[in-house]
Amino acid sequence: MDQKTRKTAPAKGVGRRKVITGLAAVGGAAMGSRLLPGYVPYIQAQSSEPIKIGFQVHRTGIGAAYGNWYDRTTTAAAKVINDAGGINGRPLEIITEDDGTDPKRGAEVVEKFATLHKADIVYGTLFSNVVIGSAPRAGELKIPYFVVSEGHHVASGGLNRYTLQPGITDVKSQVAAMAPWVAANLGKKVTMIFPDFAFGHDHRDFFTEAMAGQGGEVIETIAVPPTESAFFRYFPKIPRETEVLYHVMVGPAVLTFVKEMGEFYGDTRPEIFGFIDSLEAVDLNSPGLEFLDGTYFWEGHRRYAGDNPTAFELNYREKVGVDMNGASVDNARDVATYSHMFGCWETLHIIKAGMEAAGYQGPADRAKLIEAVEAMTDIPESEAHPQGAKVFNGKTHQTFGHQNITKVANRRLDLVHRTSIEDGLYPDEVDYTTQPL
């Protein structure tokens, strides 16, 4: 670890006073061995002061289950990065603020990071409504805003040059990659159930479009408010001729949603294809989920490690504290939001790579950081990217990657199909690089 520090620290000192840089390298090495940041003498303040990452987390509200795991993954990733010498020899400091999964508070949190905490960047938001509520403020404050959200709002051109999504694929790409498989293997007449906000609308719009391209048809769309707690009354609206039921749900009541779906259908169900969002942080062994056997799920990152996990995957699970079944190593019933939280790990590593490429020193270099990330293209599978290889599109600020389709068997999820990166590509809808920084 110290070797890495020595290698990076002098490099960033080029063009500045050499004596101080030399001292900084020593300080950086001390950081690498995780001494207290406040312990270093003031003369090194310029170069070994921590890089402050404002982490906008859904600690309360409907996104709390995700926020909990986003927090754990972020903490693990920051530790890994700091143990390896930090960014440009400077340690990362994660400052968390709860946004209550609320767009209005989200914007306030962004402002608080920029002005009160003097954070270098803001990062980590999941829920699309919060992203959409917060991104304009980040753009006004010219603070880079790295989201881990899945929403299509980044690549659609609806946000701004300071908002990027380099660590997780978007819904449009996910459903475009899923639709050919669904149409070919499950059926052509689809009924969709989705949460009634931006994220769910992305599913509705892009899956409908993608199915039409495959000769399939969405015969009914059922929107459910994301704060709903009882779902039974929505199911009778599913047309009888439905061949495939497509479900995606979020919020604290997802278990109720899936259980009531089982009560409604019993063993006379159509094919069911769901986004794992409907069961994130929910134990597949929960009572009432027996009927899911033989149904299919999209998974961004497979909860069950399967037979041949990569070394990168094993390392990631160990560092975050997740067992081979996607639950906390301390408590088998504490199931992770495994399909989404890798985005935190990968995004933090992208931030590190971008800051190092840009020679990032402080808030004055924010524009350079954006340009450095925009310049990224191929991202190979590695310890920093355990979910798989990715291709980043600097114009649309969106990353593209592999998706998984898994089948429930014996209360586990087994892989049936892994898409290629090309399956999820679509034409650019925006070129953020033409916007001023």
């Binding site: 289950a65 909990n68 009354r233 409604f264």
Partner: protein, 277 residues
């Protein structure tokens, strides 16, 4: 869900009817009942039915005791002043909600149903447990009715509701009646919560929905009227379900709210409320 709604609304109605206190924290007693049910159910490992039964008894008792303390410490000191108690119960709402968040956490946690079977209708299936909930709610409602109409306690409560000062003059300890009624109202909410928690999950924000619906039911049914509350709960609950199925859940909420407005305009005392003359 009409049955559970009736229980929750009845608690609210009772508290208002006897004490003239609008208990805004009522939904939080409901939430607390659910959270405690999770806690009690997890004390017993192995047999989910036993854990559920313990929760069904223990959870309302704890919630009732808490309500009793709240009444002693807060409401009594405010002399049950209608305006002051509204503000005080809003405060209680936030205290209870944030305490649940602090000690229980932001996760929704399930409680295993004591029994589970599925009733298959020709065109869809239905959870057998939900039918059990309906039956259990009916029994509790019947119990409350017997208590109010056929026992001495009920007589005292009705006397206090009818005329507080005269009741006091006849030697009724009005403050004790108030404390008891407040606790009973909270316990009804807790019973409803324990019954519903295997269907939904215990979650620290779950008190808001039933609070709103309870207010709608109580206003439509007539404040303080047991019969009105039950009829309105069944009516609102059923219409909510049926309209949601055939049209949209949003429309159901709009219609329920519209009904409240119409009742307030044309029959301010509620469909079954006694007219104040």
């Amino acid at each position: 869900m009409a049955a559970v709604l009736a229980l929750t609304a009845l608690g609210l109605s009772l508290v208002f009817g006897v004490m003239r206190v609008v208990n805004v924290a009522h939904g939080e007693f409901f939430m607390l009942g659910a959270v405690l049910a999770w806690w009690f159910a997890n004390l017993v490992v192995g047999n989910p039915a036993l854990g559920f039964l313990i929760a069904l008894v223990g959870s309302p008792l704890v919630v009732g005791a808490l309500a009793l303390v709240a009444d002693r410490l807060v409401l009594k000191r405010l002399d049950y002043n209608p305006e002051a108690t509204i503000v005080a119960t809003i405060g209680m709402l936030y205290i209870l909600q944030q305490l649940a968040l602090t000690f229980y956490g932001p996760d929704a946690r399930p409680v295993v149903a004591p029994i589970s079977f599925r009733v298959q209708f020709p065109w869809f299936g239905y959870s057998g447990y939900k039918l059990v909930v309906v039956a259990a709610s009916a029994i509790v409602l019947l119990g409350v009715w017997v208590l109010l109409a056929r026992t001495k306690i009920g007589l005292i409560m009705r006397a206090t509701q009818y005329d507080r000062e005269t009741a006091q003059a006849f030697g009724i300890r009005v403050d004790r009646v108030y404390a008891g009624v407040f606790a009973l109202g909270a316990m009804l909410a807790a019973v409803a919560a324990v019954l519903i928690v295997p269907i939904q999950q215990a979650y620290y924000l779950m008190g808001q929905d039933p609070l709103l619906l309870s207010f709608i039911v109580v206003i439509v049914g007539g404040l303080g009227s047991l019969r009105g509350t039950v009829v309105a709960a069944i009516f609102i609950g059923m219409s909510d379900g049926i309209i949601s199925v055939f049209f949209s859940p949003t429309l159901a909420k709009i219609l329920a709210t519209l009904l409240v407005a119409m009742v307030l305009v044309y029959r301010p005392q509620g469909l079954f409320g006694a007219r104040d003359t």
